[in-house]
């Protein structure tokens, strides 16, 4: 067993060598504090500002609209709380979101509910896509914010962001999107998509961990996240993570330039797996068949449990993930799989494979080859499979 296939790029990606090379000087000789006056400091400052420009360019935004954060979760928390406070000042305390957002969004909304906000979570239907009509129906006089993810992290489905953004703009509702899974997978333009706030994270597109960004459209007053310094336009104090920020700038530039190439590779891989793995009886693809980011697939195999499946795949050198209760660390399977209407017992048998441009069609063939005997083996052991077969 020498083979190693990394098929969990929706969890994190490998830092690219060229990104690391661009970061290295700022981890070594260019150690100046970006707030310092002398040359060493101003070099760091220039690096940070040039990365801000790179992130802005990647999104169709202006550098002044980009705030660096520690990652996607921080950006989500910051955006949602800020928008909620803006709303509350005008007496608007209703927020629209979806049932299958990342917990960074859902738990922030739970927190706001305790502060007197009301939250409507839209259904995402069996295909994992929000309906625009239902969004319109959910709008109230006191709706201050809509936060809807660009692409779902577990099943990869794309949401009608531009349409919802347009409606929000017309109604004067702030629109935030968690685009952590979208950047580098599909083209994202904050102007075309009518986005007011957008969260992203560097490590999802071959950048470093611990750094992300929040785009905030000019004119929207962001709440102070960390007090104590002038960094990030006085909104988030603390000496900049220069190397991380430089890494983010380099990674996002590469990622958006590489979308076409990556799509070509990952769609070929995913099509092969969907076509061949779904020949396994009682298996299914979760989420819309086409409205999805090209590199992420989520499947269920009835009668088996996801963690066992992952352990056996790992034994064969394949790194993947599952939405089973055991792997979610709770007693219930993933809220995303439940939100698309899967019963618990089927959701427990889920497998998410997510690819990058570093994967090959050969990887796909190897995965399918291993999947067949593993699913068989677990089913032979499974009293649940016995019941499923008996009931036809």
């Amino acid at each position: 067993m020498d083979r190693f296939i990394y098929a969990d790029n929706a969890a994190t990606t490998k830092l690219s060598k060229s990104v690391l090379d661009k970061m290295m000087p700022y981890l070594t000789e260019e150690y100046g504090n970006a707030s310092s006056l002398y040359n060493l400091g101003s070099k760091s400052k220039q690096a940070v500002e040039s990365a801000r420009e790179q992130v802005a360019n990647a999104l169709g935004a202006k550098p002044r609209e980009i705030y660096f954060t520690s990652g996607g979760s921080e950006a989500d928390n910051w955006a949602i709380k800020s928008a909620a406070y803006i709303g509350a000042k005008k007496g608007k305390k209703h927020i629209i979101s979806t049932k299958f957002e990342h917990h960074a969004v859902l738990h922030t909304l739970e927190y706001l509910k305790k502060q007197g906000f009301e939250v409507t979570l839209l259904d995402v239907h069996s295909d994992g896509v929000v309906r625009v009509e239902e969004f319109i129906d959910a709008i109230r006089e006191d709706t201050c914010l809509a936060t809807i993810m660009y692409a779902n992290n577990e099943i990869g489905t794309l949401q009608p962001i531009a349409e919802i953004g347009k409606i929000c703009r017309e109604k004067g509702i702030l629109f935030h999107t968690d685009a952590v899974q979208a950047i580098g997978n599909v083209p994202v333009n904050v102007v075309d998509d009518n986005i007011d706030m957008l969260s992203l994270s560097a490590h999802k597109f071959h950048g470093p961990k611990g750094v992300g960004a929040l785009y905030v459209r000019r004119g929207i007053l962001l709440d102070n996240l960390i007090h104590g310094g002038a960094q990030e336009f006085g909104r988030r104090a603390g000496t900049e993570n220069t190397a991380g920020i430089v890494g983010l700038g380099a990674a996002i530039t590469d990622a958006v330039n590489n979308i076409e190439n990556k799509t070509k590779i990952t769609s070929e891989i995913c099509s092969y797996i969907i076509e061949n793995a779904l020949k396994i009886e009682r298996s299914r693809l979760n989420g819309h068949p086409t409205k999805r980011i090209p590199g992420t697939i989520n499947m269920c195999f009835e009668g088996i449990e996801g963690e066992s499946l992952l352990l056996m795949l790992d034994f064969k050198g394949i790194s993947a993930s599952s939405g089973s209760a055991c792997t979610s660390g709770s007693l219930d399977p993933s809220h995303v799989l439940l939100s698309i209407g899967l019963p618990h017992e089927i959701a427990h048998g889920s497998l998410r494979l997510s690819f990058s441009e570093e994967n090959t069609l050969d990887d796909a063939k190897y995965i399918v080859e291993q999947l067949y005997p593993i699913v068989d083996r677990l089913r032979v052991m499974s009293p649940l499979w016995e019941k499923i077969k008996q009931n036809g």
Binding site: E305, C326, E345, M381
Partner: protein
């Protein structure tokens, strides 16, 4: 996350399968919670001469059922009754805290098979075996819904 012993029993489960003419069959857990264990025992002169299991569940569910079968095979019914989940955990060199319930399930599966054996022999199992809890997820919403 798992010890070597857990991985060994998961990858090479002992006594996996069914016994066609079993003297006792016990099944615990449910699909909604993500684990079901089924135990088959063959009894001769109050000794468990053969035991097989089938498990739907995570790595530790499979490993605990496997090792539990080893721990009761060739032992008397009374000895099997004494098998505690703690002994199962110890034999596996430990389990992560959130997987302890798998060992409870293994203990319950054996007790369920013993109960079935007593019942088939016209003996009321409850005074001997005690009550079998279908699922130990007392904090599990999906279980309490059922």
């Amino acid at each position: 996350m798992y010890t070597e012993q857990v991985m060994d029993h998961f990858m090479n489960p002992r006594n996996m399968g069914e016994i066609a003419d079993a003297d006792g069959i016990g099944e615990v857990g449910n699909a909604k919670c993500g684990d079901i264990m089924k135990m088959y025992i063959k009894v001769k002169d109050s000794v468990i001469v053969d035991v097989k299991f089938k498990t739907y569940g995570c790595g530790s569910a499979i490993a605990t059922s496997s090792i539990a079968t080893e721990m009761i095979k060739g032992h008397t019914l009374n000895e099997a009754l004494q098998l505690s989940n703690k002994a199962v955990v110890e034999a596996l060199g430990g389990l992560p805290a959130h997987k302890i319930h798998c060992s409870v399930l293994a203990e319950q599966a054996i007790k369920a098979a013993l109960s079935d054996y007593y019942r088939k022999n016209g003996i009321d199992p409850e005074p001997i075996v005690g009550k079998i809890t279908e699922c130990d997820h007392d904090h599990c919403e999906s279980c309490s819904e059922d």
